[in-house]
Amino acid sequence: MSSEITIRGLSPLTESCPADEAQLAELLTLAGAGGAACYIAGGLTKQDWGPAPARIDRLVSTAGLSGCSDVDPDNLTLSAAPGTTVAEARERAHAVDRILPLDPGHPGRATIGGVVATGDQGARAAGYGGLRDLVLGVRATLADGSAVKFGGRTMKNVTGYDMTKLFVGSFGILGVITEATFRLLPRFDSQAVAILPLPSLDEAKASVARIIASYLQPLALEVISADALPPDFASSTAKLPGGRAATGAPAAGGRPLLLAGFSGHRAAVDRSIKEVTEAHPGVAAQVLRDDAAETLYEHLAASGPEAGGDRLGLRASVPISRALDMVAAAQTCAASNGLSVGFRAGAARGRVDLLLATRDGSGPNTDAWFASVLSHMRAQAVSMGGSLFVTGGAALLPGGYDAWGDVGPSLAIMKRIKERFDPTGILNPGRFVGGI
C-alpha cells in the first residue's frame, strides 16, 4: 500500500507491514533486488535522532511483528517481537512479578525493536544498566532475507562472536530485529525517590559526586531542570499517593532538581533516602515511595523533552563526573546566545539530554547560528571525553549538518561491517554515523 506517513520530510513510495519473518524476508529480498531503500519503523519515537535517511523508498513497519513469545519468570528472561511496545512487554513481566528493566522515552509508543536498535535508556539506567547489558539474544532478518539468531536465553554465552552487542544500537543498518530476549529482574521489595530542589548546579554536582562515591547504589540519579518538566510538576507530584507535599515553593525555572531513586530491601532504601535528604538540611525534599515513585518515572519517560519546532535537542554521553559540566556548558552557551535551556542529566551514566530553544523567537535564529551552537556543544562533549548527537530540531540546522559527530578511526571498521551485511545498502541508508 502507498504510505501517508512522512519521515523527516521524505514520503516513502510504499508502506509494508510484514506479519511474520517469512513476509519480512520476502520483502527485503525484493527490496534488495530493486535497490529500494527501506526505513525500518517501530513507534517512530526516535525518527528525529541523527540525520534524516538518505532516501526512503519503502517504509517497513514492525507493527505486525508483535507480542511476547516467551516470558520465563524463573529464568528471569523475556523474549518479545520488535513491534511490541515497551509498555506492553513491561506489563507482561509485571504480571509474573518481574521487572523488565527498560526505561526509554515514550514507552507507550516506543517498541522493543526500536529501543534495541537505538539503545535508548532513561533515568533508571543508573541501576538497570544500558541496553547492551540487558539484551541476552536477538533474532534478525538480514538484508538478503536470511533469518539469523545470536545469543540466547542464558546470562552467560561466549559461543561465537557477541553479535547481540553488534545489533544493539545499530539503528537498523545491519538487519531487522525480529525478536529480542532480555534479562529480567526480581520485583523490588521497596523503592523510593527523593526529589530535591537545589540552589545551584554546583551544589547538584557536589551532591551527585557524594552519592556516587558513597556505598549507595542508586536506581536513578538525575539532575533535571524544572522547566524540562510540565509546569505543574511540583504540585502534581506532591499530590501523588505517598508523596509528601513540598513545604517550600516549587523549584523555580533554572534551578536544578535532583532526583535520587533507590530500590531493594526496605531498610536499605530507607537508609539511602535518609542519607541523601540529610545531606541537604535546608532543602525541602519530597519523597515518593513505591507506586508513587513508579508513577514519577513513568511521568518522566512519557513527558520527555520533545525537540522540534524552535527547539534543538541534543544528547551527550560523557564520563560520569562530567555530566553536570556538560549542563553548565549548555547554560553558558545558551546565556550568551539568548537561548533557554532545559536539561536532564543521568549523572550515574553520563547521559545528558539538552533542549535549546529560542526565547520568543528572539536572537539571530539562523541555521548557521544553530549550527555554531551545535558545534560548540559538541566540542565541549568531545573535550570531556564524550560525544554528542542531535535528537531533534533538524529544521533549525543547515542542510548537511553533522548529526552524529566524528566517530574516529573505528568508523572504517563499522563501514566494512555495514558493506558486508548490507551490500546493496537498502537498510536505513544514511541514517547512521559517518553517513552509513
Binding site: 547492551r132 546470562m155 561466549v158 562472536y161 545499530s170 526480581p186 539511602s272 551514566r349
Partner: protein, 480 residues
C-alpha cells in the same frame, strides 16, 4: 622461520625478546586445553607501538599471529596454529590511569586479573569479573574470552565492564574502540571485540569500569543432601526476588578434593554445597540472610552455615576458586564441559550429565555457577590412554548436546577455541555462522588473527577436521 623474519622482529623488540629455537618454543606450544602446536616464534612485546610494528611485518609476510597472556585458556584459544607467531603480552601489565570520580581505570592487558582488584582495594574499589583462575590469568585473556566468574550472576561478565579497548588490527593499524563514556557513538565494536578470542586483532590497553566495594558482605554455605535440592534453593531464591552476588555450587567429589588439598571447611559428607554471597548496604542484609536460610529449609536443605568473619569467608572462596586445581589430585587430566542452560533446567542437566558419566564409565566432578545455569562438569581421565581420551571427547560433546537441547548453549565462559568448533552447529545455523564470518572479514580480511579458532574455517573443508589433526599430534597433560 626465515632468518629475515627473526631479524626483522628483533629489530623491533630487541635481540633477547624473540624466541625461535624449538626447545624454547615448546614452552609455548600448549595452553590449558589438551592439544599442542609449536609456534613459529614468540615475541615479547612491551608497547602498543611494538605490537603494531610486529603485526605490520607479519602482514607483509602473510604470517598469522596469536596474542598470548598466561595460557590458562581451556578451549585451545592460545594455541598457535598454522605456524603462527605468538605475541607474549605479559610485559604490558601497567596501570595507566585510575579515575575514581569517573569510576574507570585504564590498564594494559598483561596485568593479572587479581592484581586489578588488589591495586584498587585501598581506594575502596574493585573490578567485578572474577574468574576462578584470577590469580593466574591476565586481563587480555579475560577480554578475549569474555571471562565470567562467580560474581557474574549479579554484576555481569567482562563485556559489561569494559568501556573501551585499544586494539591493533592485523596489518598494524592501532584503533580505539569505545572510550571513557558509557554510550559511545556508532556500532558497539567494544562489545563485539570482547569475547572474540583474539581473532579480530590484539587488545593492548583497556578502559575498565570499576565498582565501589560494598559496605557489607555476608557469605552463607548451604549444605545440600542432593544436587537437586541445591538447584531448588537457587530457584527459590530467585523467585523470592532476592539477588545475591553469587550462587555457586560444588558437588561431593569436588568438596572432598578441595578438603584433601586445602581444608577450607566444606563438609565432606554433603552431596553438594551452595555458596551464597549477599552484598550491598548493611541495612536489611541480616533479614535477607534469614530469608535465604528459611528458603533453604523449605527446600529441604536443613543446614546453612554463615561465615563468621572475613577469614572464614576467604577460606570458603579459596575452596571454590581452587576447585579446578584440587581436582588435579583425582586424575592426571580433566576436561571441562562449559555448557550453559536456562537456570531452571539445571537439575535436569545435572541428571543427564550423571547418566552420560555412567554410560561412558567416566568419573565426573561438578562445579557450577548455579545462578547463571553455567555447568562445569569435569570429566576425569588420563590423556596417556588414547582410548580414555577419545571416550572423554565423545562424552564432553554429549554434555554440550544436552545443554543445547535444554535451550542453553555450548560455552558459557571458556570460549570455542578449537575445542568446540564441532559443537557450533548444535546452536547455530549456517546462516548464523555466515553472519559471524562477516564480522571476522570486516576486522581481519586476510584471516591472520588467531586462525582456526572460534569459527570453522570456510572453503577448504578444514576447521573441525583441522583441529582433529592438531589433536592427533598432541599428547598433553591438561589442567596444569
Amino acid at each position: 622461520m626465515t632468518r629475515t623474519l627473526g631479524e626483522r622482529l628483533r629489530a623491533i623488540v630487541g635481540q633477547k625478546n624473540v624466541l625461535d629455537k624449538l626447545v624454547e618454543l615448546q614452552t609455548y606450544e600448549y595452553d590449558a586445553y589438551l592439544e599442542r602446536s609449536v609456534p613459529r616464534a614468540v615475541v615479547f612485546v612491551e608497547t602498543t607501538e611494538q605490537v603494531s610494528r610486529v603485526l605490520k611485518i607479519l602482514a607483509d609476510e602473510g604470517i598469522p599471529f596469536v596474542p598470548r597472556g598466561c595460557g590458562t585458556n581451556l578451549s585451545g584459544g592460545s594455541l598457535a596454529l598454522d605456524g603462527a607467531v605468538v605475541l607474549e603480552m605479559g610485559r604490558m601489565n601497567k596501570v595507566l590511569e585510575i579515575d575514581i570520580p569517573n569510576q574507570h581505570m585504564t590498564v594494559q592487558v598483561g596485568i593479572f586479573n587479581l592484581d586489578i582488584s588488589t591495586i584498587l582495594s585501598p581506594l575502596g574499589y574493585y573490578y567485578a569479573p572474577d574468574p576462578a583462575s584470577q590469580k593466574a590469568c591476565s586481563l587480555g585473556g579475560n577480554i578475549a574470552e569474555n571471562a565470567g566468574g562467580p560474581h557474574c550472576f549479579k554484576y555481569g561478565v567482562t563485556s559489561n565492564h569494559v568501556l573501551g579497548v585499544e586494539v591493533v588490527l592485523a596489518g598494524g593499524e592501532i584503533v580505539w574502540l569505545g572510550g571513557k563514556n558509557a554510550d559511545p557513538l556508532g556500532l558497539d565494536l567494544t562489545g563485539t571485540f570482547v569475547g572474540s578470542e583474539g581473532t579480530l586483532g590484539i587488545a593492548t590497553t583497556a578502559i575498565l569500569r570499576i565498582l565501589r566495594k560494598p559496605e557489607a558482605v555476608k557469605t552463607l554455605l548451604a549444605v545440600c543432601d542432593s544436587l537437586e535440592d541445591g538447584g531448588n534453593v537457587v530457584s527459590a531464591i530467585v523467585a523470592a526476588g532476592l539477588m545475591p552476588a553469587t550462587l555457586e555450587m560444588v558437588d561431593n567429589r569436588t568438596i572432598n578434593a578441595i578438603e584433601d588439598s586445602m581444608a577450607c571447611g566444606f563438609p565432606r559428607e554433603a552431596a553438594a554445597v551452595l555458596l551464597i554471597e549477599l552484598d550491598g548496604l548493611r541495612d536489611g542484609m541480616e533479614e535477607m540472610a534469614e530469608a535465604i536460610t528459611s528458603l533453604c529449609k523449605a527446600s529441604g536443605v536443613p543446614e546453612v552455615r554463615v561465615a563468621k568473619d572475613e577469614d572464614e569467608r576467604q577460606a570458603l572462596w579459596r575452596g571454590r576458586k581452587g576447585a579446578f586445581g584440587s581436582i588435579s589430585r583425582l586424575a592426571p587430566n580433566y576436561m571441562v564441559a562449559d555448557g550453559t542452560v536456562p537456570r531452571t533446567k539445571l537439575p535436569e542437566a545435572l541428571r543427564r550429565v550423571g547418566e552420560i558419566g555412567c554410560r561412558y564409565d567416566i568419573r565426573i566432578a561438578s562445579v557450577f555457577h548455579a545462578g547463571d545455569g553455567n555447568l562445569h562438569p569435569l570429566l576425569l581421565f588420563d590423556s596417556r590412554d588414547p582410548a580414555d581420551r577419545e571416550k572423554v571427547m565423545a562424552a564432553g560433546m554429549e554434555v554440550l548436546r544436552v545443554c543445547a537441547e535444554l535451550g542453553g548453549t555450548v560455552s558459557g565462559e571458556h570460549g570455542i577455541g578449537v575445542e568446540k568448533l564441532a559443537a557450533l552447529p548444535l546452536v547455530f545455523t549456517d546462516d548464523d555462522l555466515r553472519a559471524q564470518g562477516l564480522v571476522k572479514e570486516a576486522f581481519d580480511p586476510k584471516g591472520l588473527a588467531n586462525p582456526g579458532k572460534l569459527l570453522q574455517r570456510t572453503g577448504n573443508g578444514a576447521g573441525a577436521d583441522g583441529s582433529a589433526a592438531q589433536a592427533a599430534r598432541a599428547e598433553v597433560p591438561a589442567g596444569v
